[in-house]
């Protein structure tokens, strides 16, 4: 019995290479700057974790942003109270968000289908509303929780570490700004991907897929499915917490709006856009949406004018007017259109598109109907 099939290994190595080489191949796309790369990693982790729940068990959570937010808050509190080092913050955040998701998951998983979705949505919205108002002593409300010079940082004080100037998170004394922060997050994304891959191919993962295809049958065969779904829920909540904590590491501010239902909806969109149930799909979906949000939204009329300047006088103005509706402040429109097109024509998300294209080039079509494991995808 081979532990990791050749295809899986190829996929993992390919993924690792693609991720680590991002600063190079994203350069022509104008996205190779540390902050966006960090966000690519962080939301990649978030989406991979969400896919463990939604892609494998089929339970559609509409409140995952709550765990993301709780992870951020926990990490910032760790920076404030314990130490500026990233490691305790990450551990603390994952534990806290794990506990939080255990409670919410235990209650919400008593129901299934849309009732489950609404329960998770309700919990997340309650967390958001309270974080914004009543819980301000803990969350600092609208302004967001930030590091200040006067924080206690008991561990740092005990170790005799003192900070000069504005406190920023570190890793064993090393700064995590810029590309160092990116590689730190990239390491976690690769680790997260590896674990997700192992889970998918493990008997536990098979169990989850069984729950997705027919839970009643699983129950009749004598399985108590609840512990499995709850485990998947908690794992995916911990992924979200880790992602939230990493966002706080690279940018030490935790705001309530990252818990709002639109943020939960965003991770759903990422996962489905990329391809729910596949390993790589959610990551690609996350990258695409973050790319749109950060790069497309920054294109203004001046840039467009430069882009269309090869056209004759008059025609370029027309093109600038038309295209400006879709970029800059119109980036959301483009995203909406893209969703509609993808869902209508590629129900399996972008990964299905990739698979179809790969199929076209595949000379001798091999039909392996029973194969559940994702096939290796060409690196884009």
């Amino acid at each position: 019995m081979r532990v990791m099939s050749r295809n899986d290994l190829l996929l993992f190595v390919g993924f690792t290479v693609v991720v680590l080489a991002m600063p190079i191949w994203l350069h022509p796309f104008g996205a190779a700057y540390p902050d966006l790369l960090q966000r690519f990693m962080i939301f990649g982790i978030f989406a991979v974790g969400f896919n463990i729940l939604f892609g494998l068990t089929g339970y559609l959570s509409f409140g995952h942003a709550a765990f993301f937010g709780v992870g951020s808050y926990a990490a910032v509190w760790s920076f404030k109270l314990l130490s500026l080092d990233a490691i305790p913050a990450l551990i603390f955040a994952v534990v806290v968000s794990g506990l939080f998701s255990l409670i919410i998951g235990y209650v919400s998983l008593r129901r299934s289908g849309i009732y489950f979705s609404i329960l998770t949505l309700a919990f997340a919205q309650m967390s958001y509303n309270l974080a914004y108002s009543v819980l301000t002593p803990i969350t600092n409300g609208e302004t967001g929780l930030q590091l200040t010079l006067g924080d206690p940082r008991s561990l740092d004080v005990a170790m005799g570490v003192s900070t000069v100037g504005q406190p920023v998170p570190t890793l064993l004394g090393q700064s995590l700004g810029g590309f160092a922060g990116f590689y730190f997050c990239a390491g976690f994304l690769i680790l997260a991907f590896f674990i997700a891959q192992r889970i998918t191919n493990s008997p536990f993962g098979m169990m989850l897929k069984g729950i997705k295809s027919n839970q009643t049958r699983m129950n009749y065969t004598g399985f108590n499915t609840k512990p499995y779904t709850l485990a998947a829920f908690v794992i995916s909540g911990m992924y979200a917490g880790l992602a939230g904590a990493l966002l706080a590491v690279t940018d030490p501010l935790a705001g309530a709006e990252r818990m709002q239902w639109t943020a939960s909806g965003e991770v759903v969109l990422m996962t489905i856009l990329g391809g729910a149930g596949t390993l790589v799909g959610p990551v690609i979906g996350a990258w695409l949406i973050k790319y749109f949000e950060n790069i497309f939204s920054a294109i203004n009329d001046n840039i467009l004018r430069g882009f269309w300047s090869f056209l004759p006088e008059g025609a370029d103005n027309v093109m600038v007017t038309i295209s400006s509706k879709f970029v800059g402040e119109g980036w959301f429109l483009t995203l909406g259109l893209l969703f509609v097109l993808v869902v209508v024509f590629l129900p399996g998300g972008i990964m299905e598109g990739v698979r179809r294209i790969a199929h076209l080039f595949d000379r001798k079509p091999k039909d392996k109907p029973g194969k559940a494991a994702p096939r290796p995808q060409p690196a884009e």
Binding site: T16, L20, Y33, L36, T143
Partner: protein, 451 residues
Amino acid sequence: MTLLKRGLSRRRVLQTGVAGIIGTGVAPLMFTKGAWAQEFCNNPSGDTVTFGLNLPLTGAYAEEGADEQKAYELAVQHLNGEGDGGLISVLTPTALKGNGILGKKVAFVTSDSQTKADVARAGATRMIERDGAIMVTGGSSSAEAIAVQGLCQEMGVIFMAGLTHSNDTTGKDKRRYGFRHFFNAYQSGIGLGPVLGQEYGTDRRAYHLTADYTWGWTQEESMKAATEALGWQTVEAVRTPLGAADFSQYLTPVLNSGADVLILNHYGNDMVNSLTQAVQFGMRDRQANGKNFEIVVPLFSELMAKGAGANIKGIYGTSNWHWNLQDPGTIAFTKSFGAAYGAPPSQAAHTAYVQALLYADACERAGTFYPPEVIKALEGHEFDGMGNGPTLYRAEDHQCIKNVLVVQGNDNPTSEYDVLNIVQEVPRDTVAYDPTIFGGDLGPAEPAPMC
């Protein structure tokens, strides 16, 4: 769960792990070279200098954002010596020459902040890291401003705040690298109080509806202090959720509470909705305690006044600036903006424009873009001609101290822009306050080692 363990072998974990470690360890070395060439963040080396405009182009304050963007574009034109020059000739004292800043042409990059602190920070980081912005400016909420100025402090990049009215921006969350031209909730209270006393008497009972977040609380606190100093009583102060849309359940208890003034500590769509609905509840036709029932909205914006339509008529509030002022600065700016865009500028546009000019002027006076020197040039700077009378950029908290306008909804607007009347210009000595009352710490001016 335990089944999972069977699938993992130590060997596999080690193999894959080592590959990852090597990858993460080696790769950074390839990209950090050359980072030492500049001695501070984004020192402009070519013949242009780039402003980073962080604007809410989508979300609740998109219209403010669009107006700010127009103003910045105008300011950049004027700084580069294009257009009619706008306020450059009116600013006194001025070091601006109309040939860019320190001989470098001004360019700008934009980012959509969506009125969310997280997104605003991501956008600001992008403009600093990728686009080489020397200064970040803009924004239309206090959460955004506080989040971005914290980031700018870390990065060592100056932040010129746009529309932010919370006391915290230059109070407990003030930063050495953050500067605010706009006024704040505390000044609204001091400015509005006497006018309310004059118009509505000293024997009033006030009912507050307050947006339940930090800005709302500071606004409520400031208004309570100002009105109670007049001798008013506070019947009740009720917090409403942000974005509640329907405020009816908070308005019904007002009717029989014994209050005769309703103070709406709301802004943006909350203010439009709560005011519209309060008027529908017949509050302005009511009598209470033998007096006419009144509504007060402490912070006004002409864009929101347009959204509230006829409901705004006769209602008192405060404003940072209004195009209807008659000083040379205001006339020049209104004319310049109107000629370019066919409509008078809003207060958001004004504060954005002024901030851009003030930063440029400070660089010229400092003779460098080096942030600590520019900060020194801005701190304690006294200037005039920008439409608010003589103004001081206070060194202690980076708050501009200038006149505050008390405004009233116009009963007979002559055009769709003519929604507000200026009731009084409260002189700046009245609205100045002790900067220590809000606490906070500016932090160091030395730039961060890298950005």
